[in-house]
Symmetry: C2
Subunit: 335 residues, 2 copies
Amino acid sequence: MPRTTRPTMDDVARIAKVSKPTVSRVLSGSPLVSADTRERVLAVAREQGYALNRHAQKLRRERANAIAVVLDFGSHRQGAIGDPFIFELLAGISEALSVRDLDLLLSPSGLDTIDGFVDLYQSRGADGFIVLGQGARDALLQKVARKDIPMVVWGAVNEASAYCAVGSDNSLGGRLAGERFLLHDRRRWLFVGSRQHEEIRLRFEGLQEAARKNSDVEIDVLSIESMAFSAIHDQANAYLKTCTVRPDAVFAFSDTAAMAVIGAFSKEGHLTPRDYSLVGYNDIPPAAHFTPSITTIAQQTGVAGALLVEKLMQALDGSRPRSAMLPTQLVTRQT
Amino acid sequence: MPRTTRPTMDDVARIAKVSKPTVSRVLSGSPLVSADTRERVLAVAREQGYALNRHAQKLRRERANAIAVVLDFGSHRQGAIGDPFIFELLAGISEALSVRDLDLLLSPSGLDTIDGFVDLYQSRGADGFIVLGQGARDALLQKVARKDIPMVVWGAVNEASAYCAVGSDNSLGGRLAGERFLLHDRRRWLFVGSRQHEEIRLRFEGLQEAARKNSDVEIDVLSIESMAFSAIHDQANAYLKTCTVRPDAVFAFSDTAAMAVIGAFSKEGHLTPRDYSLVGYNDIPPAAHFTPSITTIAQQTGVAGALLVEKLMQALDGSRPRSAMLPTQLVTRQT
DNA sequence: GGTTTTTATGAAATGCATTTCAATACAAAG
DNA sequence: CTTTGTATTGAAATGCATTTCATAAAAACC
């Protein structure tokens, strides 16, 4: 007759004729057990189909062994403007956590208020947080950081900030785009993106900085309201129809947005690279194969996830990791 | 002097002058407490900054309140062929779980063997599993299902399968593509994708089925080895250079792959829609705005996530949910 | 007024592993 | 042969909330 209830550590101990602590030691790889005891215990555990109860373990150890990754799906759905880019970031994080044997809790609910963060943290639901894109909630994150909750953020790097951020040099990205426009003698620039997002605002600032090198340059802004692909497309289309002077340079906050702009503008006969230069952001794979291929700003996605996790580990160890800025690079293509 | 150790339920009980069970009842919203006791307890809990220990709760309740979502990042990195599509699926799942107050454990490690699944399940790390894309590991999943572990899979729907699957009608998708090719009098078809993946194999079968309606049709297969965007691009390019007869119709397993093919072929002067018809898969947002815009098969991403979760809930309740097939649709565009 | 029901609350048992501290056994040293 | 050190192992305390069962109090019924 098969056992009706799962074996516990006590059962294993009894059958292997050792004590519970010994079983515990074996299972957590402690060197304090003799080789044959270890083997005996492992054999019994295996033959009994024993699996240790993670919650008992976490309760006792007083840590969750899990990291919450916060991600604003809202802005990534229906149009996925979030790009393969965020996905790669997530993949990198997942891998880095995996290596450290930490669970990844994806976008737990309730993290739109401090209380949500504090509660999840205090209730030991997560040992730390990785926030992807501070978006428009910088204020919230500042408060979280002040509560001494381990957290790192992907996004705009700001030395004055209370939290540790990792992100690419957005302002440099903007500058690179602007310099390219200058090189091509473009004077009427259009910035596409929402300045509510800190990181995107920095890109805009970089662009402005480049613009100052030539007093003729004028920058207009198309402030994106929805992240949905088709919404951007429509907004861009409407813009072109109503603007007094058509832009001869466009800097879009993402490659996907750039694609939307290309489509919208071409419907009105405004073509790149003929009529305007275009620079996107992120260098997602299709950007290279789009027609025309898209000039863009590449970020170092590969290392980003690992770096975020590394910084968070430092925070877990009680130290205060420094923010880090990853280099960005202009990838010159047709547009 | 501030308390050095977190308050426990006992503390709250003592301060509120009630017993521990009463606090527990209040916190879990039981109707078995009088209104003023409830209020008093909540007030004390708030003022003491009490947060219940989730692990103690999970230990006692004997459930994790968490679902593991398994996702093969490997095939989605460096080129993200996984598409915005998988991301949308994930968003849908995240939301549906959130509503039910379940945590989402993203791709926990070790789930590449049965033991991994069994262990995570038995150790109560997760109450159930959602697997995104059975890929090449159908055999593993069959075994998991036979262990009576609650699981639903996004992918190929096969009635003979031991597990519950939700997916779109892949074979219909293939048929629709084939019919379009027939309509345009295309005879030399090329299928781009790996038949190791069950879902993709079904699309191929659908295509074959359509082909049987006309005896002149010949189908060649470009078997994709890597999911990376540039790898597909290179493979497609190499194919075109070495094939004896150039294809006049291409059915690609994803829109992203379709983009890669368009790029690769156009380099050799082989253009769509002039020289060949092309049908992609997934209808990701950029597909509509690519130049040329891509004809594709649309899946019902919106409901997929919610449906997966719903089926899994049934499985958790002990019933055996039926597999479900979502309709697919041809979206006709330029290619 | 006495009895049955309902409502509200508490005592104690339970879920399970880890860690500290003490004890034993055995080997090395003097 | 005693002393000291080392390697193994175990008893008991600990981490914290939920649930069952029992009890007390209040309300409803005859």
